[in-house]
């Protein structure tokens, strides 16, 4: 990358006030960026969300994206996977493999990551954190990569999962514990892996504004940090591997200010409230997924423009990794065409615009600095307000957060209907359906349900060694009922051919919940219900 403008004016890596005062990039409190010059000329991690069908099909997608210049991976599970249901669950059958990759057993992860170099490609997992972690560990082990080399991330949203994401039907205490166990496990075994991505994307897609998004994100983050400290886990053993995945909508300057304010708030909080010393514990990595909610089913081609603008704001804000919501987002998870457009958009911003040459290029802008200050103080005030309202786990169980998300859903749709916010193609500059054809066919092309995978999983369960699987499930139950870290037992259960649906069911039983939350007959008897039939192998 040439450090000159097109007409030959030399550029510096960063600019500061003429009198030398003020914060520099890479300096506490990191408003202006995480590190001053981590690896000069290295861009952010460029990736697009992928996943459809089974592990093998999704592996093809990953290879295709890597071949075309993608530098990280973010895999999303299909709706059953997100809900901890197997493809043979009666309620899940029609959703297998259509909105992400179907993952329920060890082999699925092995297929998914086949040939992926675990030590040099960052692997992010948009699937239930403890499950994705366990599958990743098994796939890396199978491929012969030591755990301490694995890069990537898992996300945890224990306070909000049930309200505005794919519900697991776990009590909040168990969800929190699984997050903590995952983070603690990684702090011991996977030092390069981001064991905790605080994902403010999924819940802010209910329509939250930036202040509410980040305040709720920080409330959850602070809760988990406090809990880890209470367990005796040292803050500098896990904090360097906390990252935040933020949403990015269309309010260009606010999104930039949001990232700057987030880094500053985080740094002050970790140092002053939680006593972190390691500079990496103070400077949070920020990744982003651009807002699917900001995209429209009408005139889908316009979404390409929205994605480009959002990605540019993220790059100007100093993002570490990003993915653009695809133009066909309103209809489906990204198609091959959508993938390549998203990736090319990032590559054009990186290689053609020069937007990433200078760190924090908008630092010092009256507008951006003022917005950063305002967002910081508003987010901080809102955090305090929520924490004053009560213990976050109790608030979660009582529906406090649920009400916030429901109201946001109502208000955001209402604002569009009333015309309070402009949405081109929806409430302004609309087009008759018959004329709205550009890219429509590609955007509405469907992925057929993977019924064959349901059959495969049914066969898999019939043919495995049930006694081994049941014994391992019994150990998961014992671990959940006790106080040992759950992750090792989940890994062992998957390794013994148990599935995530069964693991989730046994976990519910262990905490006194009904085995089947949907009141459907289980496809396979579980050890608790079927002691006499264990040796059918």
């Amino acid at each position: 990358m040439s450090m000159k403008t097109r007409s030959g004016v030399p550029l510096q890596r960063c600019y500061i006030a003429p009198d030398g005062s003020g914060e520099r990039p890479g300096e506490f409190p990191f408003t202006r960026g995480r590190l001053s010059n981590p690896h000069a000329n290295a861009a952010w991690i460029q990736r697009e969300l992928s996943g459809e069908g089974d592990g093998r099909r999704s592996n093809e997608q990953i290879r295709y994206l890597l071949e075309h210049g993608q530098t990280g991976i973010d895999v999303i599970g299909d709706a059953p996977t997100q809900s901890l249901l197997d493809p043979d669950h009666p309620l899940a059958r029609e959703a297998v493999g259509t909105q992400g990759v179907s993952l329920c057993r060890k082999q699925d992860f092995i297929d998914l990551f086949d040939g992926v170099p675990f030590d040099c490609v960052s692997i992010s997992n948009s699937a239930p954190g403890f499950f994705a972690l366990s599958g990743l560990v098994l796939a890396a082990r199978e491929a012969g990569f030591p755990l301490d080399q694995i890069r990537g991330s898992i996300l945890h949203g224990p306070l909000y999962t049930e309200d505005c994401c794919y519900a697991w039907h776990f009590p909040v205490e168990l969800r929190v514990r699984l997050a903590l166990d995952s983070i603690e496990y990684c702090s011991q075994h996977m030092p390069k892996f981001h064991a905790y991505l605080e994902d403010t994307y999924f819940f802010s897609e209910s329509g939250l504004g930036s202040v509410e998004e980040m305040a709720l994100g920080f409330v959850q983050l602070r809760h988990l940090v406090r809990k880890l400290l209470a367990r005796g886990v040292g803050v500098d053993s896990f904090a360097p591997r906390i990252a935040m995945l933020v949403n990015c909508g269309m309010d260009f300057f606010e999104e930039i200010a949001k990232m700057r304010a987030t880094r500053r708030l985080y740094a002050k909080m970790m140092r002053d409230e939680f006593g972190a010393k390691n500079p990496r514990s103070l400077s949070v990595a920020i990744t982003s997924h651009t807002s699917g909610l900001s995209l429209t089913a009408q005139q889908p081609v316009n979404n390409i423009v929205r994605g480009a603008i959002q990605a540019l704001s993220l790059v100007l804000g100093g993002v570490q990794a990003l993915e653009i919501s695809a133009f066909d987002e309103a209809y489906r998870t990204p198609s091959k065409d959508a993938h390549i457009i998203g990736l090319r958009t990032q590559q054009i911003i990186d290689l053609e615009t020069g937007a990433a040459k200078v760190l924090d290029p908008l630092g010092g802008s009256y507008l951006v600095e003022s917005l950063t200050d305002q967002l910081e103080s508003r987010i901080r005030a809102r955090i305090d307000e929520i924490e004053t309202a009560g213990n976050p786990e109790e608030l979660s169980a009582s529906g406090f957060f649920h009400n916030i998300f429901q109201k946001a859903m109502e208000d955001s749709q209402h604002a569009v209907e009333k015309g309070d916010v402009s949405l081109v193609g929806v409430n302004v500059h609309t087009m008759a359906d018959k004329d709205d054809t550009l890219l429509r066919e590609i955007a509405t092309s469907k992925i057929e349900t993977w019924h064959s995978l349901t059959t495969e999983i049914e066969r898999f369960k019939r043919n495995r060694n049930n006694s081994l699987a049941y014994e391992a499930l019994g150990d998961v139950a014992a671990t959940v009922a006790g106080s040992r870290n759950v992750i090792a037992s989940v890994i062992a259960a998957l390794d013994a051919s148990a599935t995530i649906g069964e693991i989730a069911t046994i976990m519910r039983s262990a905490v006194g919940m009904p085995a089947d939350i949907f009141d459907h007959p289980l496809p396979l008897p579980l050890p608790l219900q079927d002691a006499g039939n264990r040796d059918v192998a």
């Binding site: 709706a79 059953p80 809900s83 249901l85 009666p90 309620l91 899940a92 029609e94 959703a95 259509t98 909105q99 505005c164 994401c165 794919y166 519900a167 897609e205 209910s206 329509g207 909610l293 429209t296 089913a297 009408q298 309103a330 209809y331 489906r332 429901q406 859903m409 109502e410 955001s412 749709q413 209402h414 209907e417 929806v426 609309t430 359906d433 709205d436 509405t444 469907k446 992925i447 349900t449 949907f518």
Partner: protein, 138 residues
């Protein structure tokens, strides 16, 4: 004639609620009675509840392709129980061609992301009125 009574639901494991929450609000603001059966419904559970509660209309929110199979099953479940409650569907994932498949399967109206609330409300009024007349006539 009494107030329109609309039952709304999401079937399968589709969990995108933004749409149904907005529609529920719009219908309530239009003075209709709305029951939201929630997520994780099946064709049978929606049919049972809609009949038990004597709904004038069932609206299904669709943001995954599960609806392609589950909505025709819902119509079938209602008819098998001898019910004439009309079914409407709405959601951004419904393409024009798939909307036609829904109508062919007996769905009374299909709304895409570009339908404004007024049109949904008008359509719901007409369908509910027809249902009520039919019930009285029986």
């Amino acid at each position: 004639m009494s107030r329109e009574f609309v039952a709304l639901a999401i079937m399968g494991i589709d969990q995108h609620e933004n749409g149904v929450v907005a529609v529920a609000r719009a219908l309530r603001e239009a003075q209709m009675k709305v029951a939201y059966f929630g997520k994780f419904q099946t064709p049978a559970s929606v049919a049972d509840k809609a009949i038990a509660e004597d709904a004038d209309l069932v609206g299904i929110s669709c943001h995954s392709w599960e609806y392609m199979t589950l909505v025709p099953q819902l119509v079938e479940e209602l008819r098998r129980r001898g019910s004439t409650i009309p079914v409407i569907v709405g959601g951004s994932v419904i393409s024009a061609a798939d909307g036609q498949k829904m109508r062919d399967a007996g769905v009374a109206a299909v709304f895409s992301a570009s339908t404004d609330s007024e049109r949904v409300i008008d359509c719901v009024r007409v369908l509910c009125a027809a249902k009520k007349r039919q019930t009285i006539g029986r």
